[in-house]
């Protein structure tokens, strides 16, 4: 039970963080570089999962993606995909909850890139994409990475939304935090202790790594 839960948690948190890198990273770039109508509202909506209780997020997802919802029905009839009680559901829950943790630092990192460098690159004939790849990303990646670490650690500990969306199926959707909850409820102190130790260790390691990266990135931007 312990190992399958660890494996599952790492897998769920890993995929969710990777998807958030793509989605959150590109959105952060957009928000940092462009102004458009409704930007404030969009930002507020994207930050919402960080402020709302995870159970509320979970309930929204359950109602939006459940079998009787428009999205749920479409996914099932077109692709045969069901999100409730599946690892995909757990990944989506972790993704939504940790999205702001990726978005915010990434946006700050992109904003910290000296606009003069960007302008200079453009004057020298670089395309927008090349500017992104060769100027913005290399300068901002540490900040982005620090956000990713935080998101990964948070995704490892996701409980409320995951339980509501993915349920608790041992070996399939029973992640670390859910396995801990079940073990404590069943009075299985031995498993609970082992799982708690592993989770704490993993999260401390991730936080230290994130801290180190942030320090290095701030040192780099100072120099």
């Amino acid at each position: 039970m312990v190992w399958s839960a660890i494996e599952l948690s790492l897998w769920v948190a890993g995929v969710a963080t990777l998807l958030n890198l793509l989605l959150g990273g590109s959105l952060a770039y957009l928000l940092a570089r462009r102004d458009f109508a409704g930007k404030g509202l969009l930002e507020a909506l994207l930050t919402l999962p960080m402020v709302l209780p995870p159970t509320v997020v979970g309930y929204y997802l359950l109602v939006l993606l459940g079998r009787h919802s428009a999205i749920g029905t479409a996914l099932e009839s077109w692709f045969g995909i069901r999100l409730i009680f599946t690892i995909e559901g757990a990944i989506i829950a972790a993704m939504v909850v940790t999205f702001p943790l990726v978005l915010k630092p990434a946006r700050a990192a992109f904003e910290a890139v000296d606009p003069q460098l960007v302008q200079a690159a453009k004057v020298l004939g670089l395309s927008n994409f090349a500017v992104f790849c060769r100027i913005s990303l290399p300068l901002a990646w540490r900040g982005i990475l620090a956000g990713l670490m935080l998101a990964f650690a948070r995704a490892m500990g996701e409980f409320g939304a995951t339980l509501m969306l993915a349920g608790s199926i041992p070996g399939k959707t029973q992640t670390l935090s859910i396995a801990i909850y079940e073990a404590v409820q069943a009075g299985d102190q031995h498993s609970a202790n082992a799982l708690v130790m592993v989770t704490s260790g993993l999260c401390i390691a991730l936080l230290l790594l994130a801290q180190w990266l942030t320090r290095r990135s701030s040192a780099a931007s100072r120099s």
Binding site: L62, G167, S168, I169, Q185, A186
Partner: protein
Amino acid sequence: MRLFCALTMLTCTLPLSGTSLAAPCELTISAAASLTGAFKAIATQYQQLQPCKLTLNFAASGVLVQQLRHGAPVDLLATADQQSMDLAEADALIDPASRQDFIVNRLVLIVPASPAATSPQAGSETSATVTSADLQQLTAPAYLRIAIGNPATVPAGRYAKDSLQQAGLWPALSPKLVQAANVRQVLDYVVRGEAEAGFVYASDAKGQQVRALGLVPATGPIRYPLAISSTSKHAAQARVFSQYLRTQAAQQILLQYGFSPLE
């Protein structure tokens, strides 16, 4: 000893029933999740009769025992099975003398109310009994997921597991099972159509958006025991309430919620 207990009880009860405001009556009752509806209704009625504030705490029986073990300030414990109560008694969490059964429940197999899931010959009312051939149907691919209470903590899940084991279907059905934290969650999963079938009590299925296929043959009657916690500071008041549960009025409410009378 018993006489001493009775005398203490009497001296405790008498001043209370006379001047109710002297010591405010407050009871915390931990009850199995399956009792949610019935106990809420009983509490409303009881509080009209007695100047007593009832705080209700619902969870799976196994969870309630764990809470009690870790010092939850509970006066009365009502579980959905004997095994959970046995655990509580073994750890001296309850007063064994106060333990008594107060109601009976039955396990039913439910499917979503919409005709989405194909079903074996549906019993129109919960009086029909599910045969082992009906249970065999659950192995069909149409039943993608079957919701069941986590057998480690949820009595309804344990009863369901016993029945499935008896039918020799436990290994075949295990990969399809979604384990819920309590029996009400099983109901919710089936109501939402996220699970194609589920095992709940007759009392849970009653009046809900599900169709009961029939009673699941259990290994024995499912009797709900009740006991006063050994750490209760309101044992006398708890006793009055537990006696009330055996009255016609309270039993009537329980029957309305789909429970069965004690034989």
